[in-house]
Subunit: 271 residues, 2 copies
Amino acid sequence: MKNSYSIGEFSQITGLSVKTLRFYHEKGILVPSSVDESTGYRFYDASKIEKARIIMRLRQMEFSIEDIGAVLGQCADEADILSYLERQKNILQQRIREDRDIVRSLDQIIADEKSAKEILENGKFAVEEKNIESILIAGIRIKGKYSDCGKGFGQLGKAVGRYIIDKALCLYYDGEYREADADFEPCFPIRKEVSVEGVSIRTLPACRCLTLVHRGSYDQLGRSYAKILSEVEHRKSKISLPTREVYLKGPGIIFKGNPKNYLTEIQLPIG
Amino acid sequence: MKNSYSIGEFSQITGLSVKTLRFYHEKGILVPSSVDESTGYRFYDASKIEKARIIMRLRQMEFSIEDIGAVLGQCADEADILSYLERQKNILQQRIREDRDIVRSLDQIIADEKSAKEILENGKFAVEEKNIESILIAGIRIKGKYSDCGKGFGQLGKAVGRYIIDKALCLYYDGEYREADADFEPCFPIRKEVSVEGVSIRTLPACRCLTLVHRGSYDQLGRSYAKILSEVEHRKSKISLPTREVYLKGPGIIFKGNPKNYLTEIQLPIG
DNA sequence: TCTTGACCCTCCCGTTGCGGGAGACAATAA
DNA sequence: TTATTGTCTCCCGCAACGGGAGGGTCAAGA
């Protein structure tokens, strides 16, 4: 058992690369026991093995070199570094929270795209009668032009973005198309009741609906309305307000995409 | 509404810093609509605003510049980038897992240190009679020298490290001190039954014990044993095997610390 | 028309924790 | 003695910018 190791041997022993050892020397956190003055060769003794182990442990816990320097300078016992440990823990927990938020958005986008793809491939694009379940929603009621709809979704996103669990929809309180003074309500299904100024949170009741999935840009929606309304007339059903549009696939969060592939489900509650 | 913005105006509009815009230009992911040949001034038109927004969204999701370049080159719709999104999600989930593991270790160390501090300050260091609850443990039984104990803990750490929920302990199956051929079992309390080759997983039954917390290095343990055994004799109690030592504070995960502050609870089960 | 201040340009350095490689000595083996 | 490792220092690169130097450009007021 020697008590003086060259940098290569010490690297073998500790598992730290030669480069890393030189770097730690430069940073002053793991200084060789001796350095040959003429050759500059570094030599480490056994006591440095323990120190190297400490540094590795701290690095595994994502401590910065600077922090490790401070810790090694001040502490000899774990009790001394409690504050450092807690700070590190907070930093990591913060990063976990951020990463989780991102993963949630990614999941949302992925799920949305997959279901849209499903519909595009297997959808019938015909009038159907369905039961719609009740959902908890957040909405902002607007009287004005349909083009203000986007603003409503923007506000909603800021207000309850964290709680959205499904695709955007819009409620229409007029029985007919209106160029101006339309009465409608952009909504998001949410997973939790929260109270936000100016946002209505409530449960939309279950209902039986005639539905039709419209494929294409929004200015072509009229055609699909014509189709579904002719079916309503044929059945002599009565529509109750508000009617709904569910935006199965619209301009995405990242890309606007091609309007030809937009999917919108028209839902008309009947009797 | 102009349709040509200087880099400063465009920076105001998009919220991206001038430096960042120049950087994105250099990387080729957000190229100005025109560059004045003589002055080098960059000019952006309205179409770039949307592109800037896309880039910001992707950056928020921690996509690298390189990936963003690839995405922008190949895709125009979210459906096209599903694979990228999933890859990104996996990367983030992996990081979350790693961070969580670190946080767990940190928590463990913090909790251990705090409870050790508590004992150091308020401990009685006298023989006490206590009820010990049953615990699920993982152990490796060893016949040899007490100094092999550390190896056992090492193996256990590798085998069930993820499931450890409390301080290390050791069971002693000999009624007396043995220099060689000692029969003992290093153990960790664990939170989950797992099966590992060579590791015994079982529930240690509850029992009533005489206990004494020893403060100091392990080679001084004999004194505390003398103290507690004299109490046993005084009470005329009978000790049942195995006896236990719980390592309340020993050489830490990071620092070895000062042996004078080590804390070891001796537990002798009585009739 | 001149000046002033705001704006823009390029180029270089710094960040973190190393890894890769060049060119030059040093130590060891055949 | 030579060949092969081992080691040294110095420099560049990474990712995604931020800071600053030193210099040219633009629009408005005097």
